[in-house]
Symmetry: C2
Subunit: 547 residues, 2 copies
Amino acid sequence: MNKKGLAILMRTRMRPGEPSKLALSPLADQANEMRAENKGNQSAGSSMGDGGGEGNRVLSPSSNNMRAFEQVRESMHSAISMNKTEVLDTVLSDFSEGYFSLSPENRRKLLLILAKEYDLNRVQVRQLINQYLSLELPKGDGAQGDTVEEEGLLSTFYRIERNLRHSLQPLYEVLFERLNTHPGGLKFLSILRADILCILAEDNIASLRALDSYLKEKLSTWLSPATLELHQITWDDSASLLEKIVAYEAVHPISNLIDLKRRLGVGRRCFGYIHPAIPGEPLIFIEVALLKNVAQTIQVLWDNPPTPEHEATCALFYSISSTQPGLAGINLGKFLIKRVVTLLKKDMPQISTFATLSPIPGFMQWLLSKLASQSKLAELEASSHPSADRSTSSFWENILKQEEESALLSLSEEFAAMNNGMEVMLHILTSKNHDWKNSPELLAVLKPPLMRLCARYLLQEKKRGKALDSVANFHLQNGAMVQRINWMADRSEKGLQQSGGIMVNYVYRLGNIEEYAQSYFSTGHIHASPDLLHQLENVDVQGNGDE
Amino acid sequence: MNKKGLAILMRTRMRPGEPSKLALSPLADQANEMRAENKGNQSAGSSMGDGGGEGNRVLSPSSNNMRAFEQVRESMHSAISMNKTEVLDTVLSDFSEGYFSLSPENRRKLLLILAKEYDLNRVQVRQLINQYLSLELPKGDGAQGDTVEEEGLLSTFYRIERNLRHSLQPLYEVLFERLNTHPGGLKFLSILRADILCILAEDNIASLRALDSYLKEKLSTWLSPATLELHQITWDDSASLLEKIVAYEAVHPISNLIDLKRRLGVGRRCFGYIHPAIPGEPLIFIEVALLKNVAQTIQVLWDNPPTPEHEATCALFYSISSTQPGLAGINLGKFLIKRVVTLLKKDMPQISTFATLSPIPGFMQWLLSKLASQSKLAELEASSHPSADRSTSSFWENILKQEEESALLSLSEEFAAMNNGMEVMLHILTSKNHDWKNSPELLAVLKPPLMRLCARYLLQEKKRGKALDSVANFHLQNGAMVQRINWMADRSEKGLQQSGGIMVNYVYRLGNIEEYAQSYFSTGHIHASPDLLHQLENVDVQGNGDE
C-alpha cells in the first residue's frame, strides 16, 4: 500500500456521496479538476474564476459577478457564431473555463439564453417550407430511364430538402459540435447536461427541455459503442482512475482500500467503458464475481474467500455504476454487459451462467404507498359497508392473503387493535432502524407476504407496458430473465430501505438474450423462472433462499 | 528482418497501386479481408459469396446471382425495418457479407434501391409541415414570467418541431446508425461510400448524390477528431499495420523494406489517426523528417544519412496519405497536422520550423492546357490580325515573357518554325519520357518560365475563390503559407508528370496558423514569402534552389 493508495483512501473518506444541498454543487468538484487540467491555458475569463463555484458565490461582489457572466456569454456567442473552426480553440477554452466559474444562478441564466436565443432560425424555416411546398415531387422514381431534366429537378428537390433539414437544427448544434471536437469538450458537454437535468428536475422549462433532448441525441451519437473501449480495471491502474471507481460505485459502496483491492483481485473482475476523449475515467463500469453458483446474498461476496477461478461456473454481475450524471438516459450498460459476457465466455469457457445479484430499488416505495392507500380505502369501505363482502368491492384490494392477514393481526395486542393487516405491515415496515430485521418472529410473519408481493412487483407492476422497477427494466430490455428473489440478501441500511433486504437474480441465457429482449420490447412480456411464477401464487412452494 | 517483414515485402510487390479497370474492383481486396475476419460467422448469404466479386461475376449462373441479390436486399430491408437493435447483429452481418459477394452491377442496383426506396417518408413530412404551419409561435421568449399555459404551448411546439426534424431524416439513416454500432460497421460504411463515389464519378444520379451527402455528414460526425487516437507508427508495429502504410502511401511510394524501415527510423517520424472501431489501420498517416533546414528536394531525404535528432531544428512533413477512399472530403488531415505539430513541439523544443515538401499535383495539367489553348488562340489571332499589336488583344494572353519566348524559339531550327513560344514549350514538355530533363540546355531555358508560372499557378489561379491546386488548398486552409518553390526537387516519373519536377515548401508558423487560416477562409488571401511574390514578376531575383 503506497502513497497513491493512501490518497485514494483519503478521498474516499472525504466523499460521503450524500445528496448535496445545492442543485449544482456536485459539479464543483469536477469543475475544479477540469480547471486544474486547463491551468496552462491562460484566458481572459480565468482570473475571475479563482476560488471555484462556492467561493465565487459568497465572495465576489455582484458587479464582478455580472462582468464575469457577460464575458462567458460573450465567449459562448463567439463559439457559436465564429466562422472557422481553426480559430475556435481559445474561445472554446474561455467558454468552458468561464462556465465553471459561474454561480449556479448564472449557469441557469446562461443555459436559458442558450436554449432560447440560439434556437432555430424560424423565419428561415418558414421560407424553406414555402419553397419546399411549392415544388412538385418529381416522379422519376422508376430507377431507370430518368432524363437529364428530371435529374436536374430531383437535384433541386434534394437540395431544398437538405436545406430544410439543416434549418431545423438549432443554432446551439454548432456549439455542441464544436465542443465535441475540442479537447475536454465531450466531458464538458456531459457536465453541461448534468446541470440542465438539475434545473429541469426543479423547473420544467419547455425550451430547456428541448435543449436537453437535443443534447442527449448528440451525446448518444458520439458515445456510440463503436467509439468506446472496453478496459479491464485492475489494481495496476492509476490511482486517479481507481479513485473514480471508489467515488462512483453506486450499488455497494466501497468501504476501504482492502475492499477495493478485493474487488479487483482473484475471482473478481471489473470492466469499464472508456471514451478516447475522456481518458482515465470509465463512463460506466461493472463488477463481476466468479462463483460456483449464483449467489443468493451479497454477504457471500464479502465474507467468503474467493472461489478458485478454475472452479467457477458462474459469472455474477453484482454492481453496475455510471460515473456521468450528464449521460442519464443513454444506455451504455446494455452494450457493456454484452461485451463483457462475450469476453468472459471466450476467456473462461467453463463459465456457463451469467447472472446478476441486483437490488430492487423501487420495491419498498411501491409497497409502502400501496399499503397506505389500500389500508385507508379498506378502512373507509369497512365503515360505509360494514357488512359487505370485502372481496367483491371494486374500490380497494386486499394485497394480503387471508392467512397473512391473520398472522399479522395476531402478532401482538397492539396490532390486533388495528384496522387490518396492511396497516400492521405498514407500521412494522416503517418502524425506526428497521427494528423488525432483528425479530425472528416478525421475520417469519413478514417473509411470505414480502416475497410474494416482491415477485408481483417485479413481474406484474408496469408503467407504460414496461417493468416499474428501473433495474428490472434495464436487465429485461437487455434480454435477461428474472430467475429468483432472495430473502435477506442485503441487510445494509440501503438494502432494507429500498427492498426490505430482498435481492433478485437476473439471468442472461446466451441462447435467449435476443429473443427475450425482443418479446419484452414488443409485448412487455417478462420471462421468469417457474419457481418465481409459482411464488406469485403460493409462497410455500418456494424452495430457496431460506435461512 | 523476419518472416513478417518478408510478408510485407511480398504484398508490396503484389500491389502496384495502378488504377484498376473495373470501377469497383479496388474493393475486392478489402472485401476478402473483411470476409476472412467474419469467417466464424456462418450466415445464409455467405455460401453464395465464395469466390469474391470477380469470380462471382464470371462463374455464377445469373439465376444464382439474382437469388443472392434478393437475399442481400432482404437483409438490407430487415436491417432498416426491424425494431430492436438487440436482434440486429446477425442481420447486419448477413447484409455486409452479402453486399461483398455482389457484383459491381448488383451493388449499384442495391445502392440505388437504398437511395430511392429508403428515402424520406414525404407524406409524413407534408403532414407535419401542415401541423407546424398551423401553430402560432408562442411569444413567451422573454426568459422570465412564462405562465404554465405558455410552457405547455411551447412544449407542443418544440415537440412538433422535433418530429418534423426527425421526419426529414431519410429511412437509410437507420441503416447507417445501426451499422455504426455494429462491429466492423464503420469500415463497411466507408467501403459503401467508396462504391457510391465510384458510381457517381461516372453517372451523376441525384438520389445517389443525396445519399452520399447524407452518409458523408454522418461519417464526419462519427470520425470527429475527439474519437481518433494519435498513434506513432514504428518498426515495432504489427506487419498488418505496416503493410497498410506500404499499400496506401500515396505521395512517395515505398519501394522496399529498407525504405519503409528508414521512414520509421532515426530522424524520421510517422503518425497515424486510428479509430477504435477500425483498429490496426490508420485512417490517415503523415510522414515527418527531422532536419537542420527545410529540404529543397525530396532526394535529400532518400540519399543523405539522417540528421542527428538533437541537431534538428525543422520538422518536414513530406507525405500525408489517406487510406480510405470512402472518407473523401472529410478533412482529417487538418487535425492530424495540428496534433503532430503540438506533440513534436512538446517533445523536441528545439524544433522551430514546421514545413512541408509538397507535390504540386495540378500544375502540369493546368500549364499544358493553358499552353495548348493560348497558343491556338495566338495562332488564330495572328492569322486574322497579322499586323495588330498582340498585347492589346483581349482574346488571348501570352503567358510567356518576351525574353522567354525568344529563348524558346531560338533553341533549334525546328522550334523557330513554330508559331510561338507556347507551342514550343508545349512540344518540349509533352516529349516522350520527359527527355528535356536530361538536356542542360533545355533545362536552362525552361526553368525561368516554369518557375514563374508555377508561382502564378499556386498563388493566383483559383476556383471559387480557393487555390486551384488541391494540395495547396489543403495546407492553406489549415493555416500554412507558401514559402518557396524548388526546381528539380522530384525527378521521379510522377513528379515530372505532375509538376515538371517542381516541389513546394509550405510553412506552418505557430503564431500565425489561426490568422492565416481565417484570412484564407474569409477572403481567399494566400500568404506567401516575399521571395516567392517577387518570383511572380521576375525569376532572376530568385536566390535559392539553383543547382
